[in-house]
Amino acid sequence: MLAHKTQANDAARRRRYLKETFTAYLYLLPATAVLVIFHFAPVFYAFYVSLLDWNYISPNPAFVGIANYAALLQDSDFVTSLLNTVYYVVGTVPTSMAAALLVAILLNQKIRGLAWYRTVYFLPVITAANAVAIIWFWIYHPDYSGLLNGFLDKLGLPIQSWLLDPKWAMPCIILMSIWKGLGYNVVIFLAGLQNISTEYYEAAQIDGARGWSIFRHITWPLLSPTTFFVLIISVIGSFQVFSQVYVMTRGGPLKSTLVVVYYLYKIGFEDFKMGYASAMAYALFVIIFVLTLLQRKYIGSRVHYQ
């Protein structure tokens, strides 16, 4: 009798479990379908394309195996683009993070017009990259009529041709990118700062800690999960720099701003060498993936979670 009842209960529970699971999958279906169709399928398809010599419209693409990957290693333009990208990442990420942290700490104070300042810092982030690049294009104008050169000239300093000069073009793009991306990191740091319980600060103050030592021993360690997150997404994002280069320099002058994603775009969508472009995309994916794993291993272990 009892055993019979338990069995019936089990069956009912099982039915309910199955029904709930089914419902859950049903709810997941739309998002999953979108991800599979528009993200995962293209990712796998791109890998298949990376094994072809294909112009995108030819009905019979040639299967070339790993030849595209082998060609990447021989392609001096790809190597140049990789080095330029590293230059860009090293130029933007640390500076941008330090500046964002500083601004976030300032914006975390109780000052007048706080909302206004927060808005101002976030404005460049929501402005379209193309519009920003065009404005900065004028700032960097190569003769006396440029804003930046106008200042230099007033100060009696020699003017530069900025984006036309292979030596200056990349620093110009880096500076603009830091300015544009700053607000985003500020908002994340600000959220991180406000997440730190005030009790820690009160306790530290009672113990006599002030200024720098509060930052060093309370804020910095407790903010480290946020800092780590910002680092990871900044590195990933910076490796994929594109719009600034596309609008401002097209990889020039003399390939000094040729970065991987712009080169990939040029090969894939201007020269229509889809196989080679896909191979390049996979190479970039592997590089970013490995870098992210390394960051997790060496920096992630030093993060303090509250």
């Binding site: 112009n55 995108y56 419209i57 030819s58 009905p59 190569p142 003769d143 006396y144 036309l164 292979p166 097209r250 020039g252 002058p253 003399l254 390939k255 969508f269 201007e270 020269d271 229509f272």
Partner: protein
Amino acid sequence: MRAFGMARQGSQLKRAIVGIVTMSILAMLFAGIAPVSAGSKVTITFWHGMGSALGKTVDELVAEFQKQNPDIIVKAEYQGNYSALNQKIMAALAAKKPPTMAQAYGNWVAEYVKSGAVKPVEDFFAGPGGLSKDEIEDFWPQLRVGCTFDGKMYTLPFNKSVAIYIYNLTALKEAGLKPPKTWEDLLAASKATTVVKDGKVTRYGIVLRPNVDYFANMLFTNGGRYIDESGKKAVFNGPEGVEALQFMVDMLHKYKVAYYIPGYADADFGAGKTCGYFATSASYSYTDKAVGGKFEWGIGPIPYKRGPAAPVAGTDLVMFASASPEEQQAAWKFMKWLTNATQTAHWAIETGYIPVRRSALHLQAMKDWMAANPRNAASLDALQYAVTDPNIAEWQDIREIISQAVEEAFLLKATPKEALDKAAAKTNALLAK
């Protein structure tokens, strides 16, 4: 009661579904039948890259054609600039839904032809609705070469512009000079119109652009060529090419009468920062707008050293193989009409592109217009010296290779000879494939 209501709703739903399905089937049947039934219209799509004023002229031409051919509907669709146009055509071909016809550069068409996507216009030449031998030869021979792949004519020339020199006539008059005809004149005029104040140049004689087109202007007017007859060997690094590039480098660095910018130069010209630049005949309206009547300006052929030459740029009309026979016939009719003497003359008058047929120059409308606009007529004089780019699929790559060499020389990273030799070696490697 409730159950009953649901059942009723259910049956209503079922009826609605049956209704929708029936209607859809009927609609599909009608859609399938429609083109076959008598007196029906054929719709063709025409993708182009003609913005603003040029696009308006395209729309006017389309409206005129439809008036004359009520059984054909032409959907002319602006796709953005040329590189966007090519990207969209490629994507549409990949999706097997290309337009019926489009504007395309010769090197793009080479790529489409390789993939079997093009219906050659030569297939329509025979028969009553076709083109006679005389009519075919009425197209400028240099333009026909650009439309021919493996000995077969695949496309028809459409919007072709010729390279020109635009100058500030007011400034030249002030300097007591006539518009330059030769390189020597050009250098003299550029020196005379360059203004230096407190060690700063406030106005330059000419502005250059570090690209293959500016180089081509100097190369061809110096008797040079890009590639030899075999089509396998670069010759732009010969003495003509080296001298051409050296001349530009000297204007920049030795005489300091020129500067260079990567983008379009009409704004700088309009602002009076430069007294001259090279452009194409189709940029007339942009220059006019930039100058805005602030000074007198003129256009002439590119100044020459060995002999006059007029590099031609612009696209041809291509028809895609996937269109139905009816659509192809309609598209052929439209293409033929668009490039006949009357329309090409009209097109030239409205836009500054050149008439693609020689007989257009003898039309009264064209003669009247040339008499009234001597400035524009100058570019037509250059037509007899027209030279075109090679229409090979590798051309885009080669253009970039040469542009890179020009930039290296401008930046003094290499001598003109070194830069061009390196570019020639890369070009030869591409052509050998």
